[in-house]
C-alpha cells in the first residue's frame, strides 16, 4: 500500500497550513494595511522559511482587492443579497486579507516557489471598500460623492456585535457613491463605498 509516506506528507501539509494560517493572522493584515498606504509597487518580507510578497497590479491602484477581496458580481438584483462576491482565489492565505487591499499575493513556501495566481477575472475590477464583517454600517462623517480619499483611509465602520470593524479604502480614489445607508445591516464582503480611480498625476509604479 502507498500508505507509508502519507502520515509524513500529512504532517508536512499540516505544518505548512499552520504556518500559513499564522502568517495570515499575525503578519498579513498589518502588512497589507501598510502596503496599501505606501507608494511601493511590490513588497516582500521573509519570516523564517516563508516569504510573503505583495504586488500591486500593473493597473496600479485600480482594483477591488486584486482577486482576494470579493468582487461584486450581482445576483438577479436581489436587494437583500447585495455585493455577491466571487470565490476566494487563494485558500487560507487569500481569505486572510478580509479588508481587501492586497494585490495578488502568493505565499512562497520553503524551496517551492509558486507563481502568483491570476485572479481569474478578466473584466476591469471595480474599486470599492467592502464590508469587513456582518453587522450595522456607519459611514464616517463627511464621506460623500466627489471626495478624494487615500488608500488606507477609514471610510466608516461596521458594528459586529458591538465591536467596530473598520471599512478601509483599498486605494487612492474619489468617492463615487456610498452604497449603504447609515445604520443599514450589511453582510461580509458587501460593497459599501464605491470609488473612482484617482486621476493619475504620476506614472504608474511597478515592482
Amino acid at each position: 500500500m502507498s500508505d507509508d509516506d502519507r502520515p509524513d506528507r500529512e504532517r508536512t501539509a499540516r505544518r505548512d497550513r499552520e504556518a500559513i494560517d499564522r502568517l495570515a493572522d499575525e503578519v498579513l493584515p498589518s502588512l497589507i494595511a501598510r502596503f496599501g498606504t505606501s507608494d511601493l509597487g511590490e513588497l516582500e518580507v521573509k519570516r523564517g522559511a516563508w516569504r510573503i510578497r505583495l504586488r500591486r497590479p500593473l493597473d496600479a491602484g485600480v482594483t477591488a482587492g486584486g482577486g482576494l477581496a470579493p468582487a461584486s458580481a450581482g445576483k438577479g438584483g436581489e436587494g437583500k443579497r447585495p455585493g455577491r462576491a466571487g470565490h476566494v482565489s487563494a485558500g487560507h492565505t487569500g481569505s486572510a486579507s478580509g479588508n481587501g487591499q492586497a494585490a495578488p499575493l502568493a505565499a512562497v513556501g520553503p524551496g517551492r516557489p509558486v507563481e502568483p495566481q491570476a485572479s481569474g477575472r478578466a473584466e476591469p475590477a471595480r474599486l470599492a471598500s467592502i464590508s469587513p464583517g456582518v453587522g450595522y454600517f456607519t459611514a464616517r462623517e463627511g464621506i460623500a460623492a466627489g471626495m478624494t480619499v487615500r488608500g488606507g483611509d477609514v471610510l466608516g465602520h461596521v458594528d459586529v456585535l458591538g465591536v467596530r470593524q473598520e471599512v478601509v479604502a483599498p486605494a487612492d480614489g474619489i468617492v463615487a457613491r456610498v452604497m449603504a445607508e447609515q445604520g443599514e445591516a450589511v453582510e461580509y464582503g458587501q460593497e459599501l463605498v464605491r470609488l473612482d480611480p484617482a486621476p493619475r498625476a504620476e506614472p504608474a509604479r511597478e515592482g
Partner: protein, 456 residues
C-alpha cells in the same frame, strides 16, 4: 414558536434544517461563508447572509459573526446543525445573552454533559453500565496488576489527561502490563505533563450502537430506538442502520429504556444521542452523549416517521413533547450511506472540484439528503460529505436489496466518490449477516476490503 431561525451551518444539514423550518411555517435565514455562496441551501433560502470568508474560524466557527447575522436579519433563534459550534456551551450561553434561542440543549445542560468522564459518572449513577475500569488512578505497578486481574485482560492503559491515543496502550498479559506502564507513564508525562494512568477494559470485537432520545423542558422523554454505526473507518462512521442487527428485541428494549430513563433522570433536554459499545456477548457500555442532531438522524426518521429536526426546534421553543413512548412506533429497517467525495484507492483522500452530473436515485423507501446539483463546485475547506442516501424496507434483507438498486442508480460525476465502496460493503458477508464490528474495516484494510468484495 419562533418567527425566524438563523441556520448557522452548511452543506446538506443547512438544507435539511431549511426544509424543517419551512414545513413548520417558520422563517429561515441561511448564514454562509464566501466559499458557500452557490450552495443549494443559499439558493433555495428566502434570505441568506454572508458571514465571513471560507475559513471556518472566521465564519461558521465565529460566534460574533453568527450572532450579529442573526440580529441584523431579525432572527429569534439560531440552529447550529452538527459540528462547528453545535455543542459549544459558551456559544449557547452567548446566544442566550443576546436574546436569541439556541436550538439544542440549554447552556447549563450542555455544560453538565460537556465532560466525557463526568457524563459517564453521572449516567452510571442513573443506572447505565459503563466500560469497567480501575478504581481511580493507578498507585503503582502492584495496584495496576491487581486492578487488571479484577477487570480481566485485555485492558487498555489510559492517561488521565489528554487524548488522541498518546500514552494509551492495550495489553493482554501481566507481563505486557508491566512493560507498558513505564512507557505510558513517560508518554503521558511528555505529552500532558501528568503521568497518572488508569485502566479500562478492552472490548475487542465491539459494535457501536447509539440510542436516539427526545426530552422536552418538562421532563417528558421518549427514545426513538437505536442505530447501529459499526461500519467505521478510523472512527469515522460510513454506514448506519436501525434497528441494530447486534441485539435481539428484548436486549434492544433494555438498552433503549435504560438510556431514556437515565437521561431524563439526569436532566437532559432536547434531542440527543447516547453512544454505547456493545461487546461480543451483547453487553452494552455507555461511552458518551451527543447533545445535537447527528448526521445519521434520517435513519431514525425513516423507521419512526418523526421529524427529528422539527422536534429539536419545537422543544427549544418550549413546546411540550405531546406524545408518549407508546406513540412511538418503529417500523421496518433503514440504512444510511454517507456519500463522500473521497478517493478510496488513495487512502480515502478528500476530493474537491466541480460536480458535472448528479442524479439521485428513487423508488419506494429511498431518500437522498444532498446539497448537490450539476455544476456545484465542492470547496476544499470543509468536510467531504456530498450527501446521504437513506433506504427503508419492511425488513433488513428488503432494505439491503433496495439499497443495492439505489446505489446502482446514484450518479455523481466530476468527483471521485465512495459510492463503489458502499456497494462493496453491501456484498460483504459480515455486513449481510449483521456481524460487522467497528474494527473490521481497519483490520482488513479498506483497499483489501474493496478488492475482496470485487472478487466475490
Amino acid at each position: 414558536m419562533f418567527e425566524r431561525i438563523l441556520i448557522a451551518n452548511r452543506g446538506e444539514i443547512a438544507l435539511r434544517i431549511l426544509r424543517a423550518c419551512r414545513s413548520l411555517g417558520v422563517g429561515a435565514v441561511v448564514a454562509y461563508s464566501e466559499a458557500d455562496r452557490e450552495t443549494r441551501a443559499v439558493r433555495l433560502a428566502d434570505e441568506a447572509i454572508c458571514i465571513g470568508p471560507a475559513e471556518a474560524k472566521r465564519s461558521y466557527l465565529s460566534a460574533p459573526a453568527i450572532l450579529s447575522a442573526a440580529i441584523v436579519t431579525g432572527c429569534d433563534a439560531v440552529h447550529p446543525g452538527y459540528g462547528f459550534l453545535s455543542e459549544d456551551d459558551a456559544f449557547a450561553e452567548m446566544t442566550r445573552a443576546h436574546g436569541l434561542a439556541f436550538i439544542g440543549p440549554p447552556p447549563d445542560v450542555l455544560e453538565r454533559f460537556a465532560s466525557k468522564a463526568g457524563t459517564r459518572q453521572l449516567l452510571e449513577r442513573h443506572g447505565l453500565p459503563i466500560v469497567p475500569g480501575s478504581e481511580g488512578m493507578l498507585r503503582d505497578d502492584e495496584h495496576a496488576l491487581a486492578e487488571a486481574e479484577r477487570i480481566g485482560f485485555p485492558v487498555l492503559i489510559k492517561p488521565s489527561a489528554g487524548g488522541g491515543g498518546r500514552g494509551m496502550r492495550m495489553v493482554r498479559t501481566p507481563r505486557e502490563l508491566q512493560q507498558g506502564l513505564p512507557i505510558c507513564r513517560s508518554e503521558a508525562r511528555g505529552a500532558f505533563g501528568d503521568d497518572s494512568l488508569y485502566l479500562e477494559k478492552w472490548l475487542e470485537e465491539n459494535r457501536h450502537v447509539e440510542v436516539q432520545v427526545i426530552v422536552d423542558r418538562y421532563g417528558n422523554g421518549v427514545h426513538v430506538g437505536e442505530r447501529d454505526c459499526s461500519v467505521q473507518r478510523r472512527h469515522q462512521k460510513v454506514v448506519e442502520e436501525s434497528p441494530t442487527p447486534a441485539l435481539d428485541e428484548p436486549a434492544r428494549r433494555v438498552l433503549n429504556e435504560g438510556a431514556i430513563a437515565a437521561v431524563v433522570a439526569a436532566g437532559y433536554e432536547n434531542v440527543g444521542t447516547l453512544e454505547f459499545l456493545v461487546d461480543r456477548d451483547g453487553r452494552s457500555y455507555f461511552i458518551e452523549i451527543n447533545c445535537r442532531i447527528q448526521v445519521e438522524h434520517p435513519v431514525t426518521e425513516m423507521v419512526s416517521g418523526i421529524d427529528m429536526v422539527a422536534e429539536q426546534i419545537r422543544i427549544a421553543a418550549g413546546e411540550p413533547l405531546g406524545y408518549s413512548q407508546a406513540d412511538v412506533q418503529l417500523r421496518g429497517h433503514a440504512i444510511e450511506f454517507r456519500i463522500n467525495a473521497e478517493d478510496v484507492a488513495h487512502d480515502f483522500r478528500p476530493q474537491a472540484g466541480t460536480v458535472s452530473a448528479f442524479v439521485p436515485p428513487g423508488g419506494p423507501g429511498v431518500r437522498m439528503d444532498s446539497h448537490l446539483y450539476a455544476g456545484y463546485e465542492m470547496p476544499p475547506y470543509y468536510d467531504s460529505l456530498l450527501g446521504k442516501l437513506i433506504v427503508w424496507g419492511p425488513d433488513r434483507p428488503a432494505a439491503i436489496a433496495r439499497s443495492k438498486v439505489a446505489l446502482g442508480e446514484l450518479v455523481v460525476e466530476g468527483l471521485i466518490t465512495n459510492i463503489a465502496f458502499h456497494r462493496a460493503i453491501l456484498d460483504n458477508p459480515a455486513f449481510v449477516e449483521g456481524s460487522f464490528t467497528t474494527n473490521l474495516l481497519d483490520r482488513v484494510g479498506s483497499a483489501a476490503f474493496v478488492a475482496g468484495s470485487a472478487r466475490s
